[in-house]
């Protein structure tokens, strides 16, 4: 036998209570009594029903309602023991007047909690791949939902592989099933996007999609998750955590893949653009060739005209320089018979030299019989043009 101290027992009780999964996350309904507010602003009260009572404490209460003695309420919190007094109490974190559905309350509570943790942050939302190759689908293998998803994707974009990760989607085991199904896809390397889907149903039917474990499994997914749960009007926690929320399973399938008809149109328009562009190139180079040809012929024409002009100039020049023109004006060309040297200075000849004389229409021979330097006595104004 072992003897325990009081504090030992209380601590043990506390550990037991706080390890219990029901007691750490529990909803309790009852009537408020002994309500009292401490100086620090904490609320102390007792919840009671026909037969029993439960002490409650609500630290730093955030209340949308006014709490009064006698009010019928629903509370949420965890049950533990206050070691100082050994009192068992409910540590309340949420109070709502009865009459509001408990599922609704749980939904709001979890939503607020996860939102505060940042699970819904817009910056965290990943964009969907444009051309996925493998799409994971978490849904029931037996319902119409998977069939619908497969037929929509098969019609829109059959280039993918669908990987069905089957699970129950309602009732006992649905939460664990969904978490495991998401995990199984997450363990695969090459899943590009995950569709989490379930057909329409009541709030209770869709309840697994409002579970915290499911929310965290979605958050943990490597691949972006598209939620398609229930109808357009149904919002689940899964929708808030998912990267993309689709209003229905069919819409989720449509969001997951591009559309075949759109792709065909896209390719067609690209082909058309190709044709237009290559034609533009051909036209441009054709025009350039034309321009160059024209420029070349203009240049050639100019060059010919210039050459012709030059030629004509030279002809005229030549004509004016021709000795024949000079001879026809009465001058004569005198050459040494022996050497052919043109005689243009008096020093070139001596008496007795044989000379050849050419005039405009013939030639004759002669001999120098005398010479004299200077032109005194000859005509004044003798042409001074030197040849």
């Amino acid at each position: 036998m072992q003897l325990y101290s009081v504090s030992h027992v209380i601590r043990y009780l506390r550990e037991v209570l706080e390890a219990d999964s029901l007691l750490t996350d529990i909803w309790v309904s009852g009537e408020v009594s002994n309500l009292r507010e401490s100086a620090a602003g904490h609320l102390y009260f007792t919840l009671k029903d026909e037969t029993s009572q439960l002490r409650c404490v609500f630290f730093r209460p955030k209340l949308a309602i006014t709490l009064e003695n006698g009010a019928a309420v629903i509370t949420h919190g965890h049950i533990s023991i206050y070691e100082v007094s050994g009192a068992l109490q409910l540590y309340v974190d949420l109070v709502q007047l009865e009459g509001v559905g408990i599922l609704h309350l749980e939904f709001e509570r979890l939503k607020a909690k996860l939102e505060e943790e940042g699970l819904f942050e817009p910056v965290r939302k990943r964009s969907l791949p444009l051309f996925p190759k493998r799409i994971g689908v978490v849904t029931s293998p037996t319902g119409a939902v998977f069939y619908d998803i497969a037929s929509i994707i098969g019609r829109r974009y059959p280039l993918v592989e669908l990987v069905l990760s089957p699970t129950l989607v309602q009732g006992d085991g649905a939460v664990d099933g969904i978490v495991q199904a998401l995990q199984a896809l997450n363990d695969m390397e090459d899943i590009d996007v995950v569709i989490l889907a379930r057909g329409g149903g009541s709030l209770e039917d869709l309840w697994a999609f409002n579970d915290e474990k499911v929310a965290r499994a979605i958050y943990a997914s490597k691949a972006p998750v598209i939620s398609g749960v229930g109808h357009d009007t149904d919002f689940t926690i899964a929708d808030f955590v998912a990267d993309v929320r689709a209003p229905t399973p069919s819409a989720a399938a449509e969001l997951a893949v591009p559309d075949y008809a759109e792709l065909e149109a896209h390719i067609q328009s690209l082909t058309k653009t190709l044709l237009i562009d290559v034609t533009r190139y051909l036209d441009r180079y054709r025009q350039r060739t034309d321009e160059l040809t024209r420029a070349a012929s203009v240049y050639l024409g100019n060059a010919l005209a210039i050459s012709r002009e030059k030629l004509r100039g030279r002809e005229l020049e030549l004509a004016s320089l021709s000795p024949l023109a000079t001879l026809s004006r009465g001058y004569a060309l005198v050459q040494h018979s022996a050497t052919g040297e043109v005689v243009s200075h008096i020093d070139q000849v001596q008496r007795g030299d044989a000379i050849d004389i050419k005039v405009s229409d013939g030639q004759f021979k002669g001999r120098v019989t005398g010479s004299k330097k200077g032109l005194q006595g000859w005509m004044n104004g003798f042409p001074s043009k030197k040849h």
Partner: protein, 72 residues
């Protein structure tokens, strides 16, 4: 054209070629070569689309699926 080119790769290349052609500054030979490549890629894209058939695989799950849910 590469036989194993995926639809996505072919489409990406096609888009790149269209972009290059629109950019200008190519020689005529380059433009025509790109055009021919582009037409080949467009053909590949269409072939891939037409030949595709949806593949479905199912992972094992350790539960006995219930006969029918109230899914729609």
């Amino acid at each position: 054209m590469d036989e194993r080119l995926s639809f996505e790769e072919a489409l990406k290349r096609l888009e790149k070629i269209v972009h290059a052609l629109q950019g200008g500054g190519l020689t005529l030979e380059q433009a025509i070569a790109l055009f021919e490549d582009g037409m080949g890629l467009a053909k590949t894209c269409n072939e891939r689309l037409n030949a595709a058939e949806l593949k479905i695989t199912q992972l094992q799950a350790d539960f006995e699926p219930e006969p029918e849910h109230k899914d729609e």
